[in-house]
Each structure stands twice: as structure tokens, then as C-alpha cells.
Symmetry: C2
Subunit: 186 residues, 2 copies
């Protein structure tokens, strides 16, 4: 919890009252390996910070799982459209390693944005950060070939390449395991 | 300008001082048809609100233009990664019709976020909105076939289908003009 508060305080100093309120509303959750934080069709009610562990987002396309992204320590986990609009999600979120999460409910976060105006500075900066990262990946998806997308991952997210099983990396890149293996050794 | 201030005031009431400051810093720009607001390799220095007109974003891939999105009256125009990180852009932004824009420089917006804390509420809500729309389009790109993506456009952005030349719609969908014509008449 202190690690999270420290990183929020670096963005904008939080009042003691807000820090107390956050401590009251943030829930510690242990998500066992392979457990789901969110299933397709359900509303994403929590925004979570990963203090330990690794998770993936995936869709089902033609009865096959398609990995869309991976999150590790220090990252936020959320199904953006589902959380911000409080509507059923298109995607699933599953733990790839046991995860320790710090989660806040949608209603509590909205209350904080209204009651503690300074937290909007933090919310804006974090939303800009994740929006920018999402746009980078969108650019990579639209413009790059699989081998370029693999190099993009290697440069920007080397730890994911080490920790995420190759089958999910291949799925994210839209290629077979054999092609991924060729790209890796190229 | 009043239209823009009204819509911002609906998100969160702005103080008279902030409204005066915005009026001072927001620049009216007329962008003639076919003119560029941003060229690939340049830093996106302005975030603009379109009060009239239509524009497109596009990349160059294998020496061909690939349309990535379209913006009309009431929309914000910005190259997200370039603006938020103040680094060279991967994309181009060009007027498809003459555009009347209200633009604010990156430095002025950062000053406002620091000096008028209430504007972070507005900034957060708008960033969440455009982030969500971007994720919807990413989902459509990853998961849908061209005909489904066309139906998605028809349902969610019917005015774009009417106003954007078909050649750019086909480019956005990643199909030829002939295929687009078949999908339209299906």
C-alpha cells in the first residue's frame, strides 16, 4: 500500500485525509495463478494496481483465445471501456502468476474525484500515461510486421518476454509458436 | 469559443478567472481543405477542438497512406503520444474540409493544470472519453472483419460514412474501394 501511495504522491501531493480515505477504500486482493479478475460479459467493477504478479488480457475470437496485453508489478489493470462506462466487458483478465492486487471500486473512485479535487491531477496524469501506451501498441499493431512487433516488445517490455509463456506472446503477435521461435533466433 | 466553454462547463464549472485565461490562450485557426495540422516527424504542439470541419489522421506504410481515424465538429484533434510526450509524431493530420479550430499549446495546458486545479477534473474526464473511444476502435480492429467494422462505423459514426470520401473509409478498413462498395450494397 505504501508503495502505491508513494507513487501517487510523486505525481501530486495527496492530503493526509485523502491518504486515509484511500487506505480505507483500497482492498487487498490475492488472485491465485490462473484465476480470473474479469470475465467477458461481466462489468469491470475494480481498477487494480499490481503490487506483485503477472496477468494477461485476452479476447475470444472464433473460439480461440487472443492475448491482447500483459500487466506486471507497478501496472494498473482495468478493462478500460467496461470500467469507465460500467458496461459488460469484451475481454477477460486472468492471472498468469499469483497476483497481489490493490483494488478500488468504480463508485469509490468517482466519489474521490468529486470530494478530493487534487486527485483529478493524479487521475489525469495516469489516464494520459495508459492512453499513450495503448496508442503505442495500436501503432505497433497497425503498422508493424510480426518480427518488428517482437522487436518493439523486446525494446520496451523485455521483462514480459522473459516472464510471459511463449504461447501467449505468439498469440499477442498473431503468429504461431514456430514462427515466434524463428523470429527469436533470427 | 462559447460552445467550447459551455461544453467544458458542463463537465465541471470553471471559475471566471480560468475562463478568461482560456480565452486568452486559445487560438482560433482556420485550416484550409487539404492543409496539414501535423506532419509525421514533427512534434504535435497543439491540442485542437474542431468547431467546424472534418479531418483525418493517417500513417505512411510501404509508401501508401493508411487512414487511422477521422474527426469532425465537437471532436478534439491531437496526436496522443506526440502531444503528451512532446516527441516526433508517427502520424499526419490533414483537413478533409476547411476546418475552424480552437487550439491550445502544450505548455499553456500544463500551466493551466498546475494553476487551476479544477481543470484537471475536465482533463481527466475528456482523456477517459477519448481513451475509451480509442479502445473501442482497437477492439474493432483486432476482433472484427472488414464488413463488421463497416457496420460498427455505420452504427457509431454514421456522419463520418456520409462525409468522409470512400477511398479513406476503405483505407481505414484495410480493404479496396471495390470491396467497400460490395459491403455497402450487401
Amino acid at each position: 500500500m505504501n508503495e502505491l501511495l508513494d507513487s501517487l504522491n510523486l505525481i501530486y501531493p495527496l492530503s493526509p485525509e485523502l491518504q486515509q480515505f484511500l487506505a480505507l477504500k483500497i482492498e487487498h486482493v490475492i488472485l491465485p495463478k490462473k484465476a480470473f479478475l474479469l470475465k467477458q460479459g461481466k462489468v469491470c467493477k475494480n481498477l487494480c494496481f499490481i503490487s506483485k504478479g503477472l496477468a494477461r488480457c485476452f479476447y475470444i475470437k472464433d473460439d480461440k483465445e487472443v492475448s491482447s496485453w500483459f500487466m506486471k508489478e507497478g501496472d494498473m489493470i482495468v478493462s478500460v471501456e467496461s470500467y469507465f462506462k460500467q458496461q459488460p466487458s469484451h475481454e477477460n483478465i486472468q492471472a498468469l502468476e499469483e497476483c497481489e492486487l490493490l483494488c478500488i471500486k468504480y463508485e469509490d473512485l468517482q466519489f474521490i474525484f468529486k470530494s478530493f479535487p487534487e486527485f483529478n491531477f493524479v487521475g489525469r496524469v495516469l489516464t494520459e500515461k495508459y492512453y499513450t501506451l495503448s496508442e503505442q501498441r495500436l501503432f505497433s499493431l497497425r503498422m508493424q510486421r510480426a518480427n518488428e512487433r517482437y522487436r518493439f516488445l523486446m525494446s520496451n517490455y523485455p521483462e514480459l518476454i522473459r516472464r510471459v509463456p511463449s504461447t501467449y506472446i505468439a498469440s499477442y503477435l498473431g503468429i504461431t509458436l514456430e514462427t515466434l521461435s524463428r523470429i527469436k533466433h533470427y
